[in-house]
């Protein structure tokens, strides 16, 4: 499978319909790379005309901004907007809710206006349009699953239904955690916490959430954010529950269930 960059597409006179914004976790983190590859596979199979920025992509500036470093954020935003506008990008899809939030909500005031969608929304669209067909005998069928709402998808942007609709297409048994949707509990990574030790307390946030996920006794935990994925995977491992409960991104599940 060939993944084209914007530069390559433009050079060959093509205009992709959507830019896949991979994000730093999706690009570099070994676990998150699997999500990236799964999503790229889906796009490829569904016949979506897409491209990535490749080496021209840079951090959106989200962790810097949330940590309080507005200068760093503005520097990154300036560079990214120059590149995105240079390619006349109209539509962006991303597998990271943090990139999604910042591109969608915080770039417009800086001159970066794009239609930005999260990969769970895009997957829902592709399923509804029949571009993704789920095999009847998919490996998830009948298994139980709980979905963890990412804060930056859920409360931050009120996207609760799209990921659940996508999971529905897999014929699984969805078990909600006590704290879900607008009441969903954070995984502990947001606000640049991913990049530092937690402050002192009596429990780690990801343990609190992992315990809640384990309580549902589900075979799988679905996430839609590479950071939530890491935090929950760590939490579940810490409780030695990884044999019973596996954390997967929704894109990984769809990729395996596609015809």
């Amino acid at each position: 499978m060939k993944v084209n960059t914007m530069a390559e597409m433009i050079a060959s006179g093509q205009t992709p319909e959507v830019l896949f914004w991979v994000g730093c976790a999706g690009s570099f983190d070994q676990r998150a790379q699997k999500i990236t590859k799964a999503f790229a596979t889906i796009l490829d199979k569904a016949g979506v005309n897409y491209a990535i920025l490749g080496k021209e992509e840079a951090c959106t500036g989200d962790p810097a901004r949330r940590a309080g470093n507005e200068f760093m954020f503005q520097m990154m935003a300036y560079q990214n907007i120059q590149i995105l506008n240079g390619y006349s990008i109209k539509k962006i899809v991303t597998t990271c809710p943090h990139c999604f939030n910042i591109l969608k909500n915080e770039y417009p005031v800086l001159g970066g206006n794009y239609e930005v969608i999260h990969h769970t929304q895009f997957l829902q669209e592709l399923i509804e349009q029949g571009k993704i067909k789920i095999t009847d005998s998919n490996e998830w069928k009948g298994k139980s699953i709980t979905y963890h709402d990412s804060c930056y998808l859920g409360r931050a942007n009120e996207i609760y239904e799209a990921p659940r609709k996508v999971l529905e297409s897999l014929d699984m048994e969805l078990r909600e955690m006590k704290r879900c949707k607008s009441k969903g509990l954070c995984c502990g990574a947001g606000g640049a916490q991913m990049f530092k030790e937690e402050e002192k307390g009596d429990k780690r946030v990801n343990m609190e959430r992992a315990d809640e996920a384990i309580e549902t006794k589900s075979d799988f935990v679905a996430s839609a954010c590479p950071f939530c994925n890491t935090m929950l995977t760590d939490g579940i491992k810490n409780r030695n529950e990884e044999v019973n409960t596996e954390v997967l991104d929704i894109a990984e599940m769809i990729a395996k269930a596609m015809q």
Partner: protein, 429 residues
């Protein structure tokens, strides 16, 4: 004698109203110490928020039982206070139930009875709800009410309000009951208590209850500006001015945006432009007026803190405490201005002296606190403004964050990976 009572009543009323409006104006002035922060676009959506959240108490109903009890207090408060019109008229004119005679004149005596009966039913409901709330607050050991956030004055404040409501409602019912010519729905059942008491004594009981009731209301009114109970007024403007943007959106800092723009494209820089004075918020005057109104609107219910992942897992951060600290600091700054006409630095600031670095660092920006608040307060916005000051003014960040910053700067990613490897995954795809 009657004329003396009338004069006394007028003086009392005027004093109460004067003090109350004076304190409200002081609060208004304190709120306006903040930077411009009231956005007034999309008025229809804003009014919808006022109707749903403030009037309709939509978010309260995520806890239905509490919501209904709270609704009794709220409806009781608004409706029973209509009776104040008659009480005021009687007080000023030296009459007794002046509206009753008017209603009778137009053959509407039954309507008058209906109105007073409604007030009495509500008064009884308020009475009961307050007792339930007192028990819940002090005996049920709910975590958010047992919290150290409320140690001292805030805990007493909450109890004083409930006790005051109970006393006021009691006086209202006793006043009606002692008026033996009337037979209203609740107070008539209290009337047997007064059987055998002669009419002179009853008259004194009724008048005493009447006076204590109105004096109680004036005290309560003037207590409001010092209390967490101010939300009964500020919930309305606060929901009106609530941001209409997605919760995930942080507000932009145009001054930093321009600094970066001028660094990148120096030709755009205006000549002689002064650098911005400071970044983020170190003290209350650096926050927006909406942040400050949030602080005065906070009822200290603690729904935010109960939902905060940092607080749930034992970290120092409590969003409620952020709001309380902001109000405490603002009141200190306000008093400073009262004394000196303008603010004289007191070597203190909201950051560090009222809110510590450890609290700020624990926030995951998950928006749970913002989602929970029934009246659209954002503790998160204040936390982020303080973080901005910490990092940009004091270069105060944990070592890991400094590494993250330099990774972003040098490698365009928060981790130390070679930028050239950004698309390495495509080779394995």
């Amino acid at each position: 004698m009657a004329i003396i009572a009338q004069i006394l009543f007028i003086i009392l009323t005027a004093t109460a109203l004067y003090l109350f409006s004076k304190n409200l104006l002081l609060i208004r002035r304190n709120i306006l110490i903040g930077k411009a922060g009231f956005v007034n676009d999309q008025k229809a959506r804003r009014w919808k928020n006022v109707f749903l959240l403030a009037l309709g108490q939509k978010k309260m109903f995520t806890k239905p039982v509490v919501a209904i009890l709270h609704l009794f207090l709220y409806v009781g408060f608004v409706i029973i206070n209509i009776e104040l019109l008659e009480i005021m008229a009687d007080g000023i004119l030296g009459t007794h139930r002046i509206f009753e005679s008017y209603f009778e004149k137009f053959e509407l005596a039954s309507l008058y009875n209906f109105i007073i009966n409604s007030f009495e039913i509500l008064a009884a409901l308020v009475f009961v709800a307050c007792i339930v709330f007192l028990v819940r607050r002090n005996m049920l050991k709910l975590k958010r009410f047992m919290s150290n956030d409320l140690a001292g004055w805030p805990r007493s404040d909450a109890n004083y309000i409930l006790i005051a409501e109970i006393i006021l409602m009691g006086l209202f019912l006793v006043m009606n009951a002692a008026d033996t010519e009337t037979h209203f729905i609740i107070s008539s059942s209290l009337q047997p208590l007064f059987s055998g008491i002669n009419s002179d004594t009853l008259f004194i009981i009724e008048h005493t209850a009447w006076w204590l009731h109105i004096i109680g209301i004036y005290i309560f009114m003037n207590y409001l500006p010092y209390s967490k109970h101010l939300h009964i007024i500020l919930a309305f403007p606060n929901t009106y001015y609530a941001p209409l943007t997605p919760k995930g959106m942080m507000h932009n800092m145009p001054e930093v945006q321009n600094e970066v723009l001028y660094a990148m494209q120096p030709e755009l820089a205006p000549t002689g432009a002064a650098a911005p004075a400071s970044f983020g918020a170190k003290d209350v005057m650096d926050l927006s007026s909406k942040n400050l109104m949030d602080a005065y609107s906070c009822t200290e219910c603690g729904r935010c803190t109960a939902a905060c992942p940092a607080n749930i897992t034992g970290k120092l951060l409590s969003p409620r405490k952020i709001m309380m600290a902001t109000r405490d600091r603002l009141e200190t700054v306000g008093k400073n201005i009262d004394q000196h006409k303008s603010f004289i630095p007191d070597n203190k600031s909201l950051l560090h002296d009222y809110i510590t670095v450890e609290e700020l660092r624990a926030c995951t920006t998950c928006n749970a606190c913002v989602e929970e608040c029934p009246i659209s307060i954002s503790p998160l916005d204040i936390i982020m403004e303080l973080r901005r000051s910490l990092v940009m003014e004091e270069s105060n960040a944990p070592q890991e964050w400094n590494s993250m910053f330099s990774n972003i700067e040098n490698n365009f990613a928060p981790w130390k990976f070679a930028p050239d490897d950004r698309d390495a995954w495509t080779n394995q795809a």
